[in-house]
């Protein structure tokens, strides 16, 4: 009888511990969770999402020949629905010739210059963003999967260092708002955790599509710090760290955000 009770107690203990472990699950939240139902509906419905206008542009660009040899993305990569599946979820990734990580937009531009021999797009150009949105869409629903690549380690470490470093006249680090105070309010808005799950996003504040670098540069301005220029290694390193911080979270691209 005592043996049976002891066994029961042991089973209960195990069950409770497993329960506690499950409850301690993922406390990470996408910015989607802080949006009003109306804005969530705007993202969740492809017939309503303004970003889908630009995805349609991106689809056209995918098939559009460019450069002196008149190659399109499709010429080498075929149907994006298959060839680009999961690609966005693995960026930023290491680029051998540049010997540094590049984000998805930079990769698209590099392909355009190196393979299509066409003139590269400037940062935040509508065409580049549209193509990026189209390619990123092909990873929607997939888990963010940073590459297991040791060449990225020093860059990611610097990204994390920058994430925790106080900057600007307001002397704030990313970590203070997005780790310590995430979920609380700043003005009328809820502070998100800052996971790059939906880029490029249609941001209502911009009334346009924009990249993660644009968003981060906005944050630099927000703390009254000088924002690194588009394409700066500091920004890609931050992107790399943010991606590993969000590893496993589903891609939502192209998302809508306030």
């Amino acid at each position: 009888m005592r043996r049976a009770l002891a066994s029961l107690a042991l089973v209960l203990l195990v069950v409770l511990e497993v329960g506690a472990a499950l409850a301690q699950q993922d406390s990470r939240r996408s910015g989607y969770d802080h949006m009003s139902p109306a804005t969530q509906a705007m993202q969740g419905d492809d017939t309503q999402n303004p970003a889908m206008l630009f995805v349609a542009d991106g689809e056209s660009l995918w098939r559009q020949p460019a450069g002196p040899v008149a190659k399109s993305c499709a010429s080498c990569h075929g149907d994006a629905l298959t060839s680009m599946r999961g690609v966005a979820a693995r960026y930023p990734a290491f680029d051998v010739p540049l010997a540094r990580p590049v984000n998805l937009g930079e990769r698209l531009n590099l392909c355009r210059v190196r393979q299509q021999k066409a003139e590269g797009w400037r940062a935040e150009s509508p065409d580049l963003l549209a193509l990026e949105a189209y390619v990123a869409l092909q990873s929607r629903g997939q888990a963010i999967t940073p590459p297991d690549d040791t060449r990225l380690t020093p860059f990611r470490a610097r990204g994390e260092q920058r994430y925790r470093q106080r900057i600007g006249q307001l002397d704030l680090a990313c970590a203070q708002c997005h780790d310590e105070h995430a979920g609380k309010r700043l003005g009328g808005s809820t502070i998100p955790q800052g996971h790059p799950t939906g880029y490029p996003i249609y941001r209502l504040e911009w009334q346009a599509l924009g990249s993660l670098q644009r968003r981060m540069r906005g944050c630099y301005s927000g703390v009254r710090a000088e924002a690194p220029p588009y394409g700066a290694i500091e920004l890609v390193e931050l992107e790399l760290y943010l991606a590993s911080r969000a590893a496993g979270m589903p891609v939502e691209s192209p998302a809508v955000r306030p």
């Binding site: 009003s36 109306a38 705007m42 009328g188 808005s189 209502l204 504040e205 644009r214 906005g218």
Partner: protein
């Protein structure tokens, strides 16, 4: 019952409160003038649209988030109770705002072919304000609905791109 200035004029706290109260009244008047001006402009815009005809409150509902995420793109749905048959339907819906640079937001034309009187769009709201929708029925009668919306600015004001 709060004491007035006259009661205990040599009490510094009461005196301070009295001055603040008087100042408060002045401030309230200064703030109230622009608000009243906007409300009057809204009335005038609606009157211009309706031609001064009687407008009954009712049958019109404006579906909008009471606290919007961002004033640049606020989803709005206007619904009007109506059988939407040839003999009795909504001909037009006009949407007005109180505090944007212009009162008009959008005007919609429906018919008995519409089947239902419901229209959705996304609008810009410069600040917290009232929205008013006026529905014109096929028999010429006018109905209205109104809603108050709170709009806050983005917390982090960023520079150009």
């Amino acid at each position: 019952m709060p004491m007035s200035l006259a009661d205990r004029p040599d009490d510094p706290d009461l005196y301070r409160r009295g001055v603040l109260r008087a100042g408060g009244v002045l401030v309230a008047l200064a703030v109230a003038r622009p608000v009243l001006a906007d409300a009057n402009e809204l009335k005038a815009a609606i009157a211009a649209y309706t031609g001064g005809r009687e407008t009954k409150p009712g049958r019109v509902t404006i579906d909008v988030a009471r606290l919007v995420d961002n004033g640049n793109a606020v989803p709005v749905t206007v619904r009007v109770e109506s059988p939407m048959i040839a003999a009795d339907h909504v001909r037009a819906i006009a949407l007005f705002n109180e505090r944007n640079p212009e009162r008009d937001v959008a005007r919609f034309a429906l018919s008995e072919r519409s089947g239902r009187a419901v229209v959705s769009t996304r609008i810009r709201l410069a600040t917290s304000q009232q929205l008013v929708a006026i529905a014109t029925m096929s028999d010429g009668t006018l109905w209205s609905g109104a809603v108050d919306v709170i709009v806050t600015l983005a917390a982090c004001i960023e520079g150009e791109g």
